[in-house]
Symmetry: C2
Subunit: 325 residues, 2 copies
Amino acid sequence: MKKTIKIGIVGYGNLGKGVELAATQCDDIELVAVFSRRELTETQSGVPAVSLDKIAEYQGKIDVMLLCGGSATDLEVQGPLVAQYFNTIDSFDTHAKIPTYFACMDETAKKANTVSIISVGWDPGLFSLNRLLATSVLPNGQDYTFWGKGVSQGHSDAIRRIAGVKNAKQYTIPKEEVVNAIRSGECPAIKGNEVHLRDCYVVAEDDADLTAIEAAIKTMPNYFVGYETIVHFISETEFNEKHTGIPHGGFVFRNGQTSPGTNHVIEFALKLDSNPEFTSSVLVAYARAAYRLKQHGGSGASTVFDIPFAWLSPKSGEELRKELL
Amino acid sequence: MKKTIKIGIVGYGNLGKGVELAATQCDDIELVAVFSRRELTETQSGVPAVSLDKIAEYQGKIDVMLLCGGSATDLEVQGPLVAQYFNTIDSFDTHAKIPTYFACMDETAKKANTVSIISVGWDPGLFSLNRLLATSVLPNGQDYTFWGKGVSQGHSDAIRRIAGVKNAKQYTIPKEEVVNAIRSGECPAIKGNEVHLRDCYVVAEDDADLTAIEAAIKTMPNYFVGYETIVHFISETEFNEKHTGIPHGGFVFRNGQTSPGTNHVIEFALKLDSNPEFTSSVLVAYARAAYRLKQHGGSGASTVFDIPFAWLSPKSGEELRKELL
């Protein structure tokens, strides 16, 4: 297959490195360069590392830029900056700010006659798609989203800031009995803090007060108060052996009725060994869609809701109907 | 909400009745009439029952016709017939014939300047969408589709044709240990007949030879040979109490790797109390999409692969981004 779609990466953290990896699995996609604010001397794949200041020089050489900025703050600045010159994909995930960010990207991209697909990933992203599909098919029903088992970076950071803590990782775990009840068709009224537990693995300093650390975790407002929280103190060796990965996942359910007593359960579930590698793979599939959208005369901002799945695949409509329908 | 989309039903079996029911759950959809080859005196909802011969008289009064013909034979005739006059949705599911049917519907609909979305339902349909999404995101991986627990009408009919059988129902059941292995990330090489079992509930005539019936089932070529088959003889009372529903469902998995040793599992699962009621609900959501596609200047045939999910919902893009992204 010809490498017809040329992409660039903006931001070279976990997500950017994941995109670099994902691109190598796609026969139709060529990674041209990685752009960073930092001085990069080299990349994993050997493509050029370029200063973000020089990105405009790549106009006409790159079809789609994948914005892999590590935080919402990065994207709010880099999104409109890059969309002036290129089609873009990003994983903007600060939910409350999506309408404003969408409006900003839409205006920029329309002016530049580029396309920007925002908030791509698995949540927002694949989970959102499943919420939309399921609620459209079963208008009379109830939605449930569970996250985990997976690492919460924010909660892990919060634990690491406690005095006497050397290292820590927090896993968010959906309670199995609740997930199973919903999977079997029940529609309980639930709250997020009642159905997820917080499982913490902590490496303490040698002289640390373990009781005080445990209390500090469990009473931390916003992060742990109201949640069932379990604290395990482990050795640094065990931590490095078992807790360096960034797994994640979760479940989206809709339980709905089409007539009294006739119930249906729609479930979408992810079990991911690496959150950033999977998210990157979603970004790359949507880079293909951005390329197609532009070819079809699109301009402005859109989301996963606006993209037909046919555009995610390198295959033709004819092949897809024959092989996957 | 204004009932902006006017639909008609062609064919008034389980699926047509399901569409009638599903339409009542949608504030933006108005069912105008039911069309049938048979003499219908009335409908469940009280909308007019009209002879199929008079369908052309409804041009301009109905936006989308939902073709609920009970078999591929119905659709191959009714599809092109109705697409001459109306936008259509159907659940054409004879997989090997999809390319030919698509070409025929595409030609007819393009000539008539209508749109036809074919092969809508859950498989083909929602399952196909998940296969396409998952394979696009994880190009390096393995697909698995399981059907059930659910009623196979074809297998139930086959059992009912055996001498001495009064009534019968066959459930296809995916083997739990295989489903669980795949869900946990394993990628076994499997064959459909090894991973589904066939569970048969049979009401025999009073004087029937049960051993002969059981042997006739288990040795029936194409239907049961090669499958683990369980036969239960039950009373007519028990049959009528427990086995009159038409449940179905299944699972679509993709297990893929983004780097050596980094595995991901994507799962989509359905658990349906009524196969026809659920399928009908999918058809109605796609009727909304056909209406939108036409508004956007579309013409010709398409499939679920070509439809952005935003078009399945009565809500605006702004509402969807705010509420579901």
